[in-house]
Symmetry: C2
Subunit: 210 residues, 2 copies
């Protein structure tokens, strides 16, 4: 068994510590965020720090690293207020990861990695044609996390598109049907295998599989 105290964590080599802390809890969604600047230049980048903030009204959160270096996605959201969230299947893992390369502001990741932009409802933020789940969001608020300068963007969900075979009768998404991409840490991509789905848990009995 490996153990680390806070002091030991702080003395780890940078890359080792980043891998350890980033991957500690396991699977996160690996989605592509699509944006455009005020001139309509498109951008696409992989994000895994997503939160479900609420369903009514429908809200999501994305955590951004401190904005000391180029962050085209955040800059574009600040400029145009809108962004798209796109869930792709496992077969696109390489393209999804490649969007994390530092392309210049003049390069669209759509073209660079080989994915197609798609637009809806005169929204400037591009969706990804190849995605089986797409959502368009409007920036509601930025919350700065003082201790390390990360920024939580709260987005109001304005539009959702879901391929038919991914939507169950109760509104939940079947992420197995199309092998939605997930990621551990920065670079370890996977897709979920179902273990079990349970009914609402009650104190006086065992959970029922549904």
């Amino acid at each position: 068994m490996a153990t680390y105290s806070k002091e030991q964590i702080l003395h780890l080599e940078d890359r080792y510590r980043r891998n350890l802390i980033n991957s500690l809890m396991g699977a996160r969604p690996a989605v592509l965020i699509g944006t455009a600047d005020a001139k309509g230049n498109t951008n696409l980048a992989v994000f895994s720090q997503l939160l479900h903030i609420g369903a009514n009204p429908p809200l999501c959160g994305i955590l951004f690293r401190p904005d000391s270096v180029d962050r085209h996605t955040l800059t574009n959201i600040r400029e145009t207020s809108v962004f798209s969230i796109n869930v792709l299947s496992a077969q696109y893992a390489e393209k999804v990861h490649q969007t994390s390369a530092r392309y210049g502001v003049d390069v669209s990741e759509f073209e660079a990695v080989g994915l197609e932009p798609e637009f809806t409802k005169s929204c400037v933020a591009p969706m990804v044609k190849q995605a089986h789940i797409k959502a368009v969001c409007e920036m509601h608020e930025e919350i700065k996390i003082a201790i390390n300068g990360t920024i939580l963007v709260i987005g109001a969900i304005k539009w959702i598109e879901i391929e038919d075979n991914c939507l169950r009768n109760d509104g939940s998404i079947d992420h197995y049907a199309r092998k939605s991409l997930a990621v551990c840490g920065l670079d370890d991509y996977g897709s979920l295998q179902q273990v079990a789905r349970f009914g609402y848990a009650k104190p006086d009995r065992k959970p029922e599989k549904t």
Copy 2:
């Protein structure tokens, strides 16, 4: 293809909307948070709204629903400032889900669902013996998200324990070895199957599998 505008989402039946929005982006970690009140009464509850806030210093975030109803975990964290995060394997899915039942404040979920508490370094927050990854955190800050009253708790990671076969040489966690639990939405548990691990992406070449 199913499409929903914001207006349509707002008019969906409550449960359908909750399922849809909550499961939209896919896999999240399904971890058990262990806490104790000032008298040492232990509590255990499943959470999936986790963020990696930063590695240096090591920080994590947990999102809590609005505190209008009993939230033993948040109450305990406010009382004692500490909590543990525990990653369990797929075989414990039923027990993990069962911690979401509304047990009274006098019932410890450890006993109710059949898991064992374990303590380290005189910290009052119990860890879960059966977990293959354990972390102890200290509350750093609470951030209230105004639009819907959810609360983001920022925790400083103070202690980590990892079973040997889950830790790679580069510090990253192998979540496949022990089938770490993940969840889509509220009740759909799974574990990851690896798709590929890639090296750092560069603009001028394809990503390398590592």
